[in-house]
């Protein structure tokens, strides 16, 4: 009950924050504009709408995860709002899990709204529904859950600026992790190869959640691969939350 109470409160904080609406409005505008951009292409309208729509949904989802995530714990300590909460009979890990769940809930709603708009525009252009788009958005949502957990982890011990930098770095490197691995295998010397491979192992492989291009081109999706990605995501989120809890558990709130 405590975790859920804190999650609902975190969700409430986000939906009463203008930043969320600003990001969401901009995202919806960009997704909507994809229809006009599609009109400039020859015979590629459907692909442009879906590609741009999914990319915008993913990018702005990441913005929300990073910019709200980095303040999740830091703001509570800075504004001393957690004093009255931690003094209640709750475990510190419950507080942290509640904060995480609240932001994930916020992301679920915002990514859901963006995905539904992409789905509707694709229907407008194609003349038929493409439900696989929701699967692509859902897979992206799993990647955002990892980004949110990373932002939460940094938020437990670092300032918002540093947390934003770290999380952004993880997001960018994570999206390029496949390329990093290729680079390590093909070009670098043995020392560099090992270092780059270590980086590949530490940073979450967010590229494996990008199934948008397969969906857009109508390529078959392997359920086993999707399940493996979901398992990987859950394990990674679990590890990041475990680290965040371990740090938060021993913090003094002076």
């Amino acid at each position: 009950m405590s975790v859920w109470a804190i999650a609902v409160n975190t969700f409430r904080e986000a939906v009463r924050d203008r930043i969320l609406y600003s990001i969401l409005a901009f995202a919806l505008l960009l997704i909507g504009a994809s229809v006009f951009l599609a009109g400039l292409s020859l015979g590629q309208e459907s692909r442009i709408v879906k590609d741009l729509g999914l990319a915008a949904s993913s990018l702005f989802g990441a913005f929300i995860a990073i910019f709200l995530g980095i303040g999740l714990v830091f703001k509570e300590i800075e504004r001393r709002t957690l004093y009255a909460i931690i003094a209640k009979p709750i475990h510190r890990y419950q507080f942290l899990l509640g904060k995480y769940l609240g932001l994930v809930l916020t992301l679920l709603v915002t990514v859901g709204v963006m995905a539904l708009l992409v789905l509707g525009l694709a229907r407008l252009v194609d003349g038929h529904w493409s439900p696989a788009l929701l699967l692509a958005a859902g897979s992206d949502f799993l990647a955002l859950m990892i980004v949110t957990a990373a932002a939460l982890l940094f938020s437990t011990f670092s300032t918002p600026t540093l947390s934003a930098l770290f999380t952004l770095a993880i997001f960018v490197i994570g999206r390029l992790s496949g390329d990093i691995r290729l680079f390590a295998e093909q070009f670098a010397g043995p020392g560099v190869r090992q270092a780059v491979f270590a980086l590949y192992l530490v940073v979450p492989d967010l590229a494996r959640f990008q199934i948008g291009s397969q969906v857009i081109h109508g390529l078959p999706l392997a359920p086993a691969e999707i399940a493996r990605a979901a398992g990987y995501g859950a394990a990674y989120v679990g590890m990041l939350l475990f680290l965040a809890i371990a740090i938060f558990q021993f913090r003094d709130f002076k």
């Binding site: 109470a5 904080e13 924050d17 009255a84 003094a87 209640k88 009979p89 475990h91 002076k254």
Partner: protein, 311 residues
């Protein structure tokens, strides 16, 4: 009387500076607060009062020692189930309304919806926040936030109420209301442990006080015990005193005799000299206007303790 707070050797060190040097802010503290009493925890700024309260409420972790709240170890979350805490200068979620915030606090205590609704209604009434209940906290004044802080501390119907500087920032009316509420809590059988540096309030409210200076507990006791022993001096006001009488009294007084229009004021060090001075005065035909024992005020006692620690 059952012990509600049992602190044994509780201490806290913070790491400060670039080299993370260990700095003790609370030296081993032993203190027991019994059921039903109002305990005032006093000390100058930086003495370690808030540190103690934060240790008791789990906001910071002890470096050593232990504490039990209502018989349960501090490290157990269940220890806080019957404890209400009001932090100093309450900072709450400003995007919530007063009612929503109290509801959140009730949920964290695991209260069911009907109980929460009933409790929130009565607490809003107690703290006179009914009219502002559905207003966002960003629009609350400091006094209103302080009252909401008290309301959230009472949402679980606590047996122990811990208040950090509850009078700070309140106007005289607000302070009076807070004092009345604290006395009401005691009348309801609750134990109140509060820190303060407003000594007049403490003197009016507390059954016992503890004085903390530089992280060490200097004195603990009932106010009567701390303040009545020893009597500082006895002031006697006389009328119609003759110069010969004043010369005779001069050997008994502590300090000079103060001359006022038609009256004189003597300061006598003890009851034996008072007795002799009164006999002399009455025999010389003087009129005794008043006899007033001068007791140590809490403020004087407090200042002595602080200066004693500094010396």
């Amino acid at each position: 009387m059952a012990a509600v707070i049992e602190i044994s050797g509780l201490r806290k060190e913070f790491r400060v500076g670039f080299w993370q040097r260990r700095t003790p802010v609370l030296h081993p503290l032993d203190l027991t607060v019994t059921a039903g009493e109002i305990f005032g925890y006093l000390g100058p700024n930086g003495a370690g009062k808030t540190t103690t309260l934060k240790l008791l409420t789990g906001l910071i972790l002890p470096t050593g020692g232990s504490a039990r709240l209502l018989g349960q170890d501090l490290t157990e979350v269940a220890a806080k189930r019957h404890v209400g805490f009001m932090p100093e200068n309450p900072y709450f979620y400003e995007y919530l309304t007063g009612r929503e915030f109290l509801d959140l606090c009730g949920r964290l205590f695991g209260l069911r919806a009907p109980v929460r609704g009933e409790r929130i209604g009565s607490l809003l009434c107690l703290t006179q926040l009914e009219a502002a209940a559905d207003r966002q906290l960003r629009k609350y004044s400091k006094g209103m936030l302080q009252r909401l802080g008290l309301a959230q501390a009472l949402i679980n119907d606590p047996r122990l109420v811990i208040l950090d500087e509850p009078m700070s920032g309140l106007d005289p009316l607000g302070r009076k209301a807070m004092r009345d509420t604290i006395l009401q809590l005691k009348a309801e059988g609750r134990t109140v442990f509060f820190s303060s540096h407003i000594l007049s309030d403490v003197e009016m409210l507390c059954d016992r006080v503890g004085i903390l200076v530089a992280g060490r507990l200097r004195d603990v006791g009932r106010l009567e015990d701390i303040l009545t022993t020893p009597t500082e001096a006895i002031e006697v006001t006389l009328a119609q005193a003759t110069p010969a009488l004043l010369t005779a009294l001069g050997t008994l007084t502590q300090g000079p005799i103060l001359h006022q229009p038609e009256r004189v004021l003597l300061r006598l060090p003890d009851e034996a000299r008072l007795d002799r001075a009164l006999r002399l005065s009455l025999a010389a035909g003087a009129r005794v206007v008043s006899v007033a024992p001068q007791r140590v005020t809490l403020e004087e006692h407090f200042i002595r303790e602080v200066r004693g620690a500094a010396a």
